[in-house]
């Protein structure tokens, strides 16, 4: 082994900041074990902006939570999974060191700030709490940094706002507070789970711009979970497309939008309304994500795939190399001629 045994990240600057390998998350249920995330692997480099895209229920939020080892019970991360963050093995780390990482080196922005903020604590108190947990700053310093952080995320009159409760703030401001909480320790990686889904469109744009701006200033890596390809186009340098608990395509953002390889990605892109579009109806992908207890044999997408052929029912495709940084989990990569045969998917 050339890699030294030490886990100090500085010894291996070229290693990715986050390395998720063969992540499997299972939920025991009455119908057997539901594998909500099944063999997901990806990496995030330092300062990189990666988007994870997929429909509701594809396992993307669960993947995000597992990075901080916060998978809600009875769900559990199965053996064989590995998550390496900044040289530390997240899944075997002792609780003490895990808490050190949470909020300090890796932080999370939740989807719905109204429920993710504690209603009985002032927003300033909640931001300050992160400092209290991770630093030994004096009360004055803690408060000063809290107010400063609130100002940095674009909240006017931050000193007064800090003393208000979440319900006294607008949705956009609450999300700014969440971002302030996540960023106050200058983490190396910020996970944002659908940070704009609960917001008005105009506020969405502001929040995305704020995130982009803060990323440029701090050099943090961003793992953005979303179902909105518009967000992807604005934020990502690399995209991971998930379907039914699996990564089905991974590519640089330009590649993905220019030449999607997986029929699912193709469908997602086709479903985006375009200006000046002639068609009257928006395109949709028929059907919905199958529940993890009732996955079809072979390719999990074949029931909804317009190109599905015999092989798809018997053999699950591997994540195949399409280009240098572009992979797709589809037999079409090996049999591109099949793409010519498109048939309607029967709605069930």
């Amino acid at each position: 082994m050339t890699i030294s045994a030490t886990r100090d990240s500085t010894t291996a600057p070229d290693r990715p900041l986050l390395d998720v390998h063969a992540l499997k998350i299972a939920f025991p249920s009455e119908h057997g074990v539901a594998r909500a995330v099944d063999g997901v692997s990806f990496t995030v480099s330092r300062g990189e902006s990666v988007c994870v895209v997929g429909e509701s229920g594809c396992g993307k939020s669960l993947t995000a939570l597992s990075l901080l080892r916060l998978v809600p019970p009875p769900g559990r991360i199965e053996s064989g999974s590995r998550i390496t963050f900044d040289g530390a093995d997240i899944l075997t780390l002792d609780d003490e060191r895990l808490r050190d990482i949470r909020g300090q080196h890796m932080a999370m922005i939740f989807q719905e700030p109204m429920t993710a903020l504690n209603p009985v604590l002032t927003v300033g108190d909640q931001i300050a709490e992160v400092l209290r947990v991770h630093t030994t700053l004096s009360r004055q310093e803690t408060w000063a940094r809290t107010v400063d952080m609130l100002a940095q995320v674009g909240i006017a009159d931050a000193g007064a706002r800090a003393k208000q409760y979440p319900h006294e703030l607008s949705g956009g401001m609450r999300q700014r507070v969440m971002i302030a909480m996540a960023l106050i320790m200058s983490p190396k990686l910020v996970i944002a789970d659908e940070p704009t889904t609960a917001l008005d469109v105009t506020i969405q744009a502001q929040i995305l711009e704020l995130l982009r701006d803060l990323r440029a200033r701090t050099g943090m890596a961003l793992l953005l979970i979303t179902h909105d390809l518009g967000v992807v186009a604005e934020m990502a340098s690399r995209v991971i497309v998930m379907y039914a608990g699996r990564v089905v395509e991974e590519a640089d953002v330009e590649d993905l939008f220019a030449a999607p390889s997986h029929p699912y990605t193709e469908g997602l892109l086709a479903a985006i309304p375009k200006l000046g579009q002639e068609e009257e109806r928006l395109q949709t992908i028929s059907g919905s994500v199958p529940p993890p207890t009732a996955l079809p044999s072979g390719c999990t997408f074949r029931d909804r795939c317009p190109y599905a052929f015999a092989r798809c029912a018997t053999e699950e495709p591997a994540l195949l190399q399409v280009g240098s940084a572009h992979r797709a989990r589809c037999h079409l990569v090996e049999e591109p001629a099949r793409r010519a045969v498109r048939h309607d998917v029967v709605r069930t």
Partner: protein, 300 residues
């Protein structure tokens, strides 16, 4: 909401003020036998508005003095119950897993034992109990509902997303409970306390009446009632006034509890809609039937 709160507050303030200022309101000491021959068993008059008892003590002085004892006993023992119950609930939640479920089962067992039976048994074993011993006894037999309430509430709160968010920020278990979750319980605990005080006032009256509570010659509402027990028809004032005082105090506490619940129950804490939300806030005493508990108002 302040309009809803004020009558109950006024009642409560009145009660506390009268009881606290008691010694200033009457010229007689509560245990002074004024004139064992001439002033024995006098009906209410201007000099003795509540009359005198069989040994010529002024009943008004005794009711006021007894009120201090009854209220102090209720408030102290309910405070003890709240502290013990909250600690138990918090520890159970914090421990989690097998310890948590064991502690919950123990709580179920404790809740299934009729409280009055325990009190009577202890009374029978030890006989006369001092005031501190009574506080401990009533306090330590009254915390089970609080513990259950706290455990249930904490469990629900821990499932909320803000708990997850706090943990994602590196907040550890004890701190999460203490700083992030317990503040949510304050309104509930205050409401529980006011109903608890009401129940305990009635309980004390009952115990003292049976001779197991406050001991003579110290006045309490229960002991005065006991003095008048055999002579309700002839010396009705011995039963009526301490009885009225007890009813008034219980009503005042219940009214306060109701008002506080009205104020806090539809609180600004957003919750996911669950069946829990439509259920009334559980109150202490509801699961330990006591012959002396006043009927409590339960909203649907």
């Amino acid at each position: 909401m302040s309009r809803r709160l004020s009558p109950a507050f006024v009642l409560m303030a009145l009660l506390v003020a009268v009881v606290v200022a008691g010694p200033l309101l009457t010229p007689y000491a509560p245990n002074a036998q004024l004139d064992i021959i001439a002033l024995r068993s006098q009906a209410p008059s201007l000099a003795h508005p509540f009359g005198t008892d069989a040994v010529s003590r002024d009943v008004l002085s005794r009711v006021l003095d007894g009120g201090r004892v009854s209220l102090a006993l209720a408030i102290l023992s309910v405070s003890l119950s709240l502290v013990v119950g909250t600690l138990y609930g918090a520890m159970s939640t914090l421990a989690g897993g097998v310890v948590d479920s064991t502690m919950r089962r123990l709580l179920d067992v404790a809740l299934s034992i009729p409280r009055l039976l325990v009190l009577l048994a202890v009374g029978a074993l030890w006989g006369a109990l001092s005031f501190p011993a009574l506080v401990l006894l009533i306090g330590f037999t009254g915390w089970f509902d609080t513990a259950r309430l706290v455990t249930d509430e904490l469990r629900a709160l821990r499932a909320q997303e803000f708990s997850l968010a706090a943990r994602a920020m590196g907040v550890r278990g004890p701190r999460l409970l203490w700083r992030h979750l317990l503040p949510h319980l304050l309104p509930t605990l205050v409401i529980t306390a006011s109903f608890g005080v009401a129940g305990t006032i009635a309980l004390e009256a009952g115990l003292s009446y049976l001779g197991l509570g406050i001991q003579a010659p110290q006045a309490s509402w229960g002991t005065i009632l006991r003095d008048g027990a055999g002579v309700v028809q002839s010396e009705w004032w011995l039963s009526l006034f301490p009885g009225l005082a007890t009813v008034f105090a219980v009503l005042a506490c219940n009214a306060l509890g109701d008002a506080l619940r009205e104020r806090f129950a539809p609180n600004h804490v957003p919750r996911r809609a669950t069946s829990r939300d439509t259920a009334p806030i559980p109150m202490t005493g509801t699961t330990s039937p006591s012959a002396f508990s006043p009927s409590r108002t339960v909203r649907p």
